[in-house]
């Protein structure tokens, strides 16, 4: 009997061990921001490197999130090429002074409970704060920080001190022990913030990022959009409703998902860049109204992290005041960076829209002016029956069987499904660009369309959706537009224009040279400049060296 119990217990332990192995994720991301501190409204540029200590990297989408202790502040998603990506975070103008965390992670990490996320602490000073004398700083123990090796990188400069706007030559002599053993070298030159220097190089979040494993989806050239549907009246999770996703465009995008028992749905958008205008519709058999909530790709802050109030020394206060003043003048003379809202592209990969090759395409403006859709349907759309008396019923003919379908077709306006035929009634020749008709029974996955009537209007604002129940127009930041070659603010071109750059140089080198020679120009800000060189070894280990020079 005891032997039997022992066997069962052994099997149980073995099962737990195997289950743990399965869900373990060794994929991690290093983030290299161009600064450790900034003023609210600044742009933090960064490089990220995704690596897997035990195998091949499978994700190429990295989510970068700036968060406070309480909540996420801003985030962006960047696409990696050869495991590296370059991007930026725009720090909100109204962000209060304090310690914030930049986390970089993949979706695979986010949905694997055992995974750790590497984080970088940054200090943000609100540009309207007059006198900052104390700040809440994090306190870490040894297990919460990432180990790195301090190695002499042979950093030398042409001069020990510089005049404002003086040119400097920087030389990095990679030690022989590291030559040929480095994947990349990150060189960062910027004003040294005495307070930010006390922050750890990297910290880690050991917190389970999600409460339970909802299924790991590897984002490769695609992003995952997850959300939930709730009943508006009862706020209960709505299950077994069909959620439709549409993205309007020349080649419209469409997808569907049947919400699970928790009202959860997900979509996987491939090859998307920029900010998408998503049209999400909840379709159910009832007249009930629903609410849709999308989950953002952000990190839940780790509330267990300890912080302590730090009284600032005089040099720290002076540096912060200088930085805030510099930010003020920068705003006067240079434009602040705005996220490019209008940029959006999506490569669907097919020649025809999701409803297939149209049987007919009709351009009504090539014919006589027709005032409404009833006339257009009657005069121009052969194979379409539009009946206002029967609740604006539309039916199209099945050209294979030479008869009308017994059900309504899929009706689209600018690629967005419409279930109310009256939305078409006022569309006349002046409003319609073209009408595409599919006179066949179409299948999209498991969805059946008894013919398709797709109307594309000249006005692409899609304002008609405002009155449609259970239709949601959501702005969703997909993948950041590739900012290769972009970086911190440029140097001032004239003597009369102030140069208050905080970051003087930031670049990642992938060539494994023996030495690097770099020129950089100091700005008008006086104080210590810190030159930081970070080497990333072939086993993803970190080698760090730094040197300070003074700008007088």
């Amino acid at each position: 009997m005891i032997k039997k119990q022992f066997n069962i217990l052994s099997l149980l332990f073995l099962f737990i061990f195997v289950a743990n192995l399965k869900s373990e994720c060794k994929e991690m991301v290093y983030i290299f921001p161009d600064r450790n501190s900034c003023v609210s409204g600044d742009t933090i540029w960064f490089d990220v490197m995704v690596f897997d200590s035990e195998g091949k990297v499978r994700s190429n989408m990295v989510h970068v999130c700036l968060s406070s202790k309480e909540s996420s502040v801003t985030h962006s998603t960047v696409k990696c090429h050869n495991n590296w990506a370059h991007g930026y975070l725009i720090v909100p103008d109204s962000l209060s002074t304090g310690n914030y965390i930049i986390s970089a992670f993949t979706n695979r990490q986010k949905h694997t409970p055992q995974s750790k996320v590497i984080q970088k602490d940054v200090l943000v000073y609100n540009r309207f704060d007059q006198q900052i004398s104390e700040i809440s700083m994090p306190t870490y123990n040894g297990s919460q920080t990432v180990n790195y090796q301090k190695v002499g990188m042979g950093i030398s400069t042409s001069a020990g001190s510089l005049k404002t706007r003086g040119m400097a030559e920087l030389k990095v002599e990679i030690p022989s022990s590291l030559q040929g053993n480095l994947k990349a070298l990150v060189v960062n030159v910027g004003m040294a913030d005495p307070l930010a220097e006390t922050l750890p190089f990297y910290s880690t979040s050991a917190q389970a990022l999600i409460k339970k494993d909802t299924g790991v989806v590897i984002e490769n050239d695609a992003i995952l959009i997850r959300g939930n549907v709730y009943n508006k009246a009862t706020l209960e999770k709505a299950s077994n409703v069909v959620v439709l996703l549409s993205i309007s465009g020349t080649l419209p995008y469409f997808d569907y998902c049947i919400a699970d028992s928790n009202g959860a749905f997900s979509f996987y958008l491939k090859n998307v860049i920029g900010v998408a205008n998503l049209y999400i519709q909840v379709v159910s058999g009832s007249y009930e109204e629903y609410i849709v909530e999308l989950q953002e790709n952000v990190l839940v802050p780790e509330k267990s992290k300890k912080t302590g109030l730090r009284i600032l020394a005089n040099d720290q206060v002076a540096y912060i005041n200088n930085l805030i003043d510099a930010a003020y003048y920068n705003r006067l003379f240079y434009q602040t960076m705005q996220s490019p809202e209008d940029t959006f592209s999506m490569d669907i990969g097919f020649r025809y829209p999701f409803y297939g090759e149209p049987t007919k395409i009709v351009y009504p403006e090539l014919f006589i002016d027709l005032s409404d859709f009833t006339e257009i349907a009657r005069e121009l759309l052969f194979g379409v029956q539009y009946r206002i008396k029967q609740d604006h019923a539309i039916r199209v003919s099945n050209q294979v069987q030479n008869m009308l379908f017994d059900m309504e077709p899929l009706k689209l306006i600018n690629g967005i499904p419409v279930f109310d035929g009256s939305k078409f009634s006022k569309l006349g020749t002046n409003q319609i660009e073209r009408v595409e008709l599919v006179l066949n029974e179409r299948y999209f996955g498991d969805l059946v369309f008894k013919g398709v009537l797709a109307v594309y209007t000249k006005d692409k604002s899609n304002s008609w959706i405002n009155m449609v129940p259970n239709m949601f127009n959501l702005r969703y930041e997909c993948v950041q537009v590739n900012q290769k070659g972009q970086g911190p603010k440029p140097k001032a071109v004239g003597k009369n224009i102030p140069d208050f750059r905080q970051v003087l140089y930031h670049k990642t080198y992938f060539e494994n040279d023996k030495s690097l020679e770099i020129n950089f120009q100091a700005s008008d800000i006086k104080g210590d400049v810190i030159i930081e060189v970070i080497g990333i070894g072939k086993e993803n280990e970190l080698y760090v060296d730094s040197k300070k020079i003074t700008v007088q």
Binding site: V217, I258, V283, F354, V400, F419
Partner: protein
């Protein structure tokens, strides 16, 4: 009299209901969660079975398990597939919605099926720019610098009058034709006949070598795919092709 009014009223209500269009949404709501897929969806139109003829519209007599590779790089595995050689379309049976679907040709890059003999048949979508122009599914028989393809095409041919299963008099039958093509990077697709002369014409500088190779290996018939594949393998062995 009142009974008549009642009947007319009921009939009127029935007809009114009948006239009102139903939306396809009702069908969508019946779908199980298994219909969800993060991959892009297979698109196509319903395939309607046509009247019975002598012969078959399909190259494959039964549904075969296979994989479909889409133009956007996605792969759908373990589908029930059949090649309709009459229309040159790939037909798929969707078990969940119980429908035979012609998969959009523009979305397919290639597909493969495992035939009843357990062999894997690989089909590639090729744009053929000679008559008749268009996209066709060519079966890859031999892959190399000189690749051998076969195009299965079922055509309707006149024959002696006969009665079909429904006792209808017909005078045509469906016949499967096979057209072989050799593909090279520089010459594109060259149509070849399944005989020795075609091989000699294809490699005019190596006629003697080819004749000798075929003679020594007793290859005299090129009637089917196995013989054509064997001939190409032999040419590779002899170093005539790579």
């Amino acid at each position: 009299m009142s009974q008549k009014i009642l009947i007319i009223l009921i009939a009127g209500l029935f007809l009114a209901n009948k006239g009102k269009c139903q939306d396809s949404v009702g069908l969508w709501l019946k779908l199980p969660e298994q219909s969800n897929s993060l991959a892009s969806k297979i698109t196509g139109e319903r395939y309607y079975l046509k009247p019975f003829y002598k012969g078959s519209f399909f190259y494959h007599d039964k549904w075969l398990k296979g994989n479909v590779f889409l133009e956007n790089g996605e792969v759908f595995k373990n589908l029930d597939l059949r090649l309709c050689s009459y229309e040159g379309q790939l037909i798929y049976y969707n078990k969940r919605v119980k429908a035979t679907i012609t998969i959009d040709k523009h979305s397919i890059k290639e597909f493969n099926v495992v035939n009843e003999q357990g062999e894997k048949e690989i089909y590639k979508k090729i744009y053929y720019n000679r008559f008749p122009k268009g996209e066709r599914y060519f079966r890859l028989l031999f892959d190399g610098v000189y690749s051998l393809y076969v195009w299965y095409h079922t055509v309707e041919m006149k024959t002696y009058p006969y009665k079909d299963n429904n006792n209808i008099l017909r005078d045509s039958e469906l016949v499967l034709t096979k057209v072989y093509f050799v593909h090279t990077e520089d010459k594109g697709y060259i149509k070849i006949a399944s005989n020795r002369a075609s091989f000699l014409q294809l490699f005019p500088g190596q006629k003697r070598k080819i004749k000798r190779a075929f003679r020594r290996n007793n290859i005299s018939s090129f009637a089917g795919e196995p013989q054509m594949i064997k001939a190409f393998q032999l040419l590779k062995q002899e170093g005539i092709i790579r």
